[in-house]
């Protein structure tokens, strides 16, 4: 009873060199690998003589279920019997890179979309290898062969042979067959994609068998935790580590670049010592940063058109159009910092030896962990093994790999395997936040009330330099695509538009946060659309339908309205709507519209969201039920961040300390949610962050409908609601 899980060593595909630990649970492929030796058909597929098909999932799982959806795509083109498929988490190596990122990297809801074609080709290629082998053995032309699930069929002679039998004699050619797009299955012939299959990760998660990084236990492993500097650039000056080293079981106190690590034999001793650790820090870049005064200055910057920002969108001459408009509508919005609050505090296990590194991490960017670990250890990247463990929530926080870098650094220093786990208090103190934002939107209208120009000035912290480095921002001519996402009106009929980003930098650590810019930016845009509808004495839904240009966008708005019975009057509640997209025009945009039913308590300022109806066009849904669940979760993140979530800095440090003062959505706050998928096209589009941006405007618009007052500062805390309602 001393070891909560089984570790087994196994060789990896096609190389006798690299070894890794795999976690064998009941029913996993490792536990059942066939003795005769499976045929490896390509990087994704191997088939054992007993017919077991093992498919590699190229990206780590964080609850998005892509580790079921991605292998399913391979299985579709392979024409596999799904009941014979075992899923393995792939190693970290270039063969598994996403074509979008040229890396194993999970962000922007692009796993299914990004791997769609490579996985179809991999499945079709493996099938073709099997067909060629059968054609050669039977002496028949390959084009006379067809497949049924896991069976090759020669209809003319009535012969049939199972994939396992073929794999036993198939030779895999040195050059794998090329698969032309025309050789792929027509979408109409799909029998797996588009039909729900059980998520393979669920049983282990319901029994406590799933292994997260925090659960990894290695022989001789030490435990560590890190006190991080309050902001970027602050370094440890002095600490009381010498006194802590005298405590039983504490083995090391290590100053790091931006922190101090305590290392010891037992986690409880390390955590007790952490409570006694006192560090003085050099003043960092943001040592005087306090959210409340800073937000006022953000708003001043957004208002001050003399203060030039980076033009993110420039379509026509918006400033001229507004200057010459018959009437100008102006509105301002703000949003506070928010924290990811992933339930598993940041944790990474590392072991550094003379010529190799092994890392066990829940990370959204395993390829970068590999590369950075190699640099720290001074070894080639192919000597680094990164085990991609399932994450206790990612949401963008684990796109940053600060905690993995620290784990490898500490492991190198102590010479033993070490698990570095953040306390919740340190996890929030080291929050990599979604930027605080202030918005000023000016809309020019002609005498007939038609929009002539739209200018959106956004003052906000940056994310791109923190995640990708300053050079990337420069290469993008200063456009921070993460912060400014959705700060546009591309789907609306607006002849001239300008979006400018005025940078604010305070040494605050930032990261992508679910939905990235859509949270704050779609809030501002969609609130203004409602303002304009109201001024035009138009119904907000009808106004959107008239203003939206493309049919897919109109379809989601219409569908959400129908789901909510938009025209029906309610007693004591009101409805509001918001529209938002996810993705980029060049890769395809998913579209969503949500209606929120809201009750406002004017006396205490409490907003209750009772129901959400969301219509979502995600192209071709690969796993419809899961897609609806992901969108539901995304909508509920919208509720949580619209109503309560608020992280504040005072004098350069985060003020909140735990879930007790950083309030996330609870069961009792959770509305009933209905999601309807609208299928379009023949390609899956991003889904798992869709809809988040619709919620705050839908709530604010519902409150506007009920009270005539605009909630313009997110989150809509009780104090702010009372102030807005003049109570």
């Amino acid at each position: 009873m001393t070891d909560g899980m089984t570790l087994s060593r196994r060789g990896l595909l096609g190389t006798g060199l690299a070894f890794t630990f795999a976690f064998a649970g009941p029913g996993t492929a490792e536990a059942q690998s066939a003795p005769a030796g499976p045929a490896t058909l390509n990087a994704y597929v191997r088939i054992a003589p007993d017919g077991t098909i093992t498919i590699q999932a190229p990206v780590p799982e964080m609850g998005q279920a892509s580790n079921t959806a991605l292998p399913l795509i391979v299985a579709e083109e392979l024409d596999a019997d799904w009941s014979k498929v075992r899923i393995e988490t792939a190693p970290v190596r270039p063969a598994y890179d996403s074509p979008v990122f040229r890396s194993q990297f999970v962000v922007a809801s692009l796993s299914v979309r990004g791997y769609w074609m490579p996985l179809r080709v991999a499945g079709a290629q493996a099938r073709r290898v099997l067909l060629d082998a059968v054609a050669a053995r039977w002496g028949v032309p390959v084009d006379q062969l067809t497949t049924e699930p896991s069976v090759v069929v020669h209809a003319a002679s009535g012969r049939r042979i199972g994939y396992g039998e073929v794999a036993a004699f198939a030779t895999v050619p040195a050059t794998l067959p090329e698969i032309a797009p025309a050789a792929l299955k027509p979408v109409s012939a799909f029998r797996l994609v588009g039909r729900d299959v059980p998520r393979f990760d669920v049983p282990a998660k319901a029994t406590g068998q799933a292994v997260f990084a925090i659960d990894v236990r290695l022989p001789g492993m030490l435990h560590a935790t890190v006190a991080r500097s309050p902001g970027l650039g602050a370094r440890p000056l002095t600490h009381n580590g010498a006194a802590l080293l005298a405590r039983p079981g504490i083995t090391h106190v290590l100053p790091l670049d931006q922190g101090v690590a305590i290392v010891g034999e037992k986690v409880e001793a390390v955590l007790a010592a952490r409570r006694e650790l006192a560090v003085t820090w050099s003043p960092g870049e943001g040592a005087t940063h306090s959210s409340e005064p800073a937000l006022a200055s953000y708003l001043a910057d957004a208002r001050d058109t003399a203060k030039q920002g980076v033009a993110v969108v420039r379509n026509g001459e918006a400033a001229q159009a507004i200057a010459g408009a018959a009437r100008v509508h102006t509105a301002e919005f703000t949003s506070d910092y928010v924290y990811h609050a992933q339930m598993e505090p940041l944790t990474c296990v590392a072991h550094v030896t003379a010529d190799a590194v092994e890392v066990w991490a829940g990370t959204q960017w395993p390829s970068l962990v590999r590369d950075e670990a190699a640099k720290i250890a001074g070894i080639p990247a192919d000597r680094v093994t990164v085990n991609m463990l399932t994450m206790g929530g990612g949401f963008g926080r684990r796109a940053a790999i600060d905690y993995a870098i620290e784990a490898v650094t500490i492991a190198k220093a102590v010479g033993r395997p070490v698990k570095v786990m953040a306390t919740r208090e340190d996890d929030i103190a080291n929050a990599h936040v979604r930027p605080m934002t202030a918005h000023r939107i000016d809309v020019g209208l002609d005498a007939a009330g038609k929009i002539t120009g739209w200018r959106h000035r956004l003052a906000a912290d940056l994310v791109v330099p923190m995640l990708y480095g300053r050079a990337r921002l420069d290469a993008q001519r200063g456009v921070d695509h993460i912060v400014t996402y959705h700060a546009n009106v591309a789907h609306y009929d607006v002849p001239a538009a300008l979006t400018e980003h005025v940078y604010r930098e305070h040494g605050v650590r930032t990261a992508p946060w679910r939905g990235i810019g859509a949270g704050p930016n779609a809030f501002a845009v969609e609130a203004v659309i409602d303002d304009l509808a109201r001024q035009a004495n138009a119904d907000p839904l009808a106004y959107r339908l008239a203003l939206l240009k493309d049919a897919r966008a109109k379809a989601v708005v219409e569908a959400a309205g129908a789901m909510a019975e938009w025209g029906r009057r309610r007693e004591g509640t009101s409805l509001g709507i918001g529209f938002a997209k996810l993705g980029l025009p060049q890769l395809g945009e998913a579209l969503s519209a949500t209606v929120a039913e809201v009750a406002v308590d004017r006396a205490n300022g409490q907003i209750r969201v009772l129901r959400l109806w969301c219509a979502a066009d995600i192209g071709l849904p690969v796993q419809p039920r899961n897609a609806m669940r992901q969108i539901e979760a995304s909508l509920l993140w919208g509720v949580s961040s619209a109503l309560t979530e608020r992280l504040t800095f005072r004098d350069g440090a985060v003020e909140q300390t735990n879930f007790s003062d950083y309030e996330v959505l609870r069961a009792s706050d959770t509305p009933q949610v209905q999601v309807r998928l609208i299928r379009s096209g023949e390609m899956p589009l991003p889904a798992a962050e869709l809809g988040l941006g619709t919620v705050a405007p839908a709530i604010s618009n519902a409150v506007l409908a009920a009270t005539g007052r605009r909630l313009s500062a997110m989150p809509f805390t009780r104090d702010r609601v009372r102030a807005a309602l003049g109570a």
Partner: protein, 150 residues
């Protein structure tokens, strides 16, 4: 040294009296199905049963469990066939899954006392267990399903 009963087994661990029960379970006994989330009884990820009551093991000192019976997710009667686990799998409640064992342990004490809870009773009983993936509607559905099958 502290002696207690975990999942119907008598165990003795070399833990300090003030060591939280959570770390006794996870580190001394290797029962990693019980999770660390906050350390201050504010999230529910570490929920286990102490003498049949749902408790936050992060905030219970080992000394308070001495001589008493603790049940973790690994010791839930029936394991994968427990009605709640089966309902959790059928509904596919988990997303990231990290909080779900604590959710199940919390739910089990509701059904032990109230075999046919109303939706409001479920929500009230589960309100201290956070799920950042916000699978709350699925958790309620799974509990309703399990209640129907007990």
């Amino acid at each position: 040294m502290i002696s207690l009963t975990v999942n119907n087994r008598a165990v003795t661990v070399a833990a300090e009296p003030e060591t939280p029960l959570l770390w006794v379970l996870r580190e001394h006994l290797g029962l990693t199905g019980t999770k660390y989330g906050c350390g201050v009884a504010a999230c529910g990820a570490c929920t286990v049963h102490l003498e049949g009551e749902a408790v936050r093991s992060c905030s219970i000192p080992a000394s308070a469990a001495a001589g008493r019976a603790v049940t973790t997710i690994e010791g839930l009667p029936g394991g994968a066939n427990h009605p709640l686990v089966r309902a959790w799998v059928a509904v596919e409640a988990p997303q990231c899954g990290y909080c779900q064992t604590g959710q199940i342990m919390q739910a089990a004490t509701l059904l032990a006392r109230t075999p046919r809870p109303t939706r409001d009773e479920i929500v009230a009983h589960m309100d201290g267990n956070l799920c950042r993936c916000a699978t709350y509607n699925q958790i309620v559905e799974a509990i309703e399903q399990a209640a129907g099958s007990v």
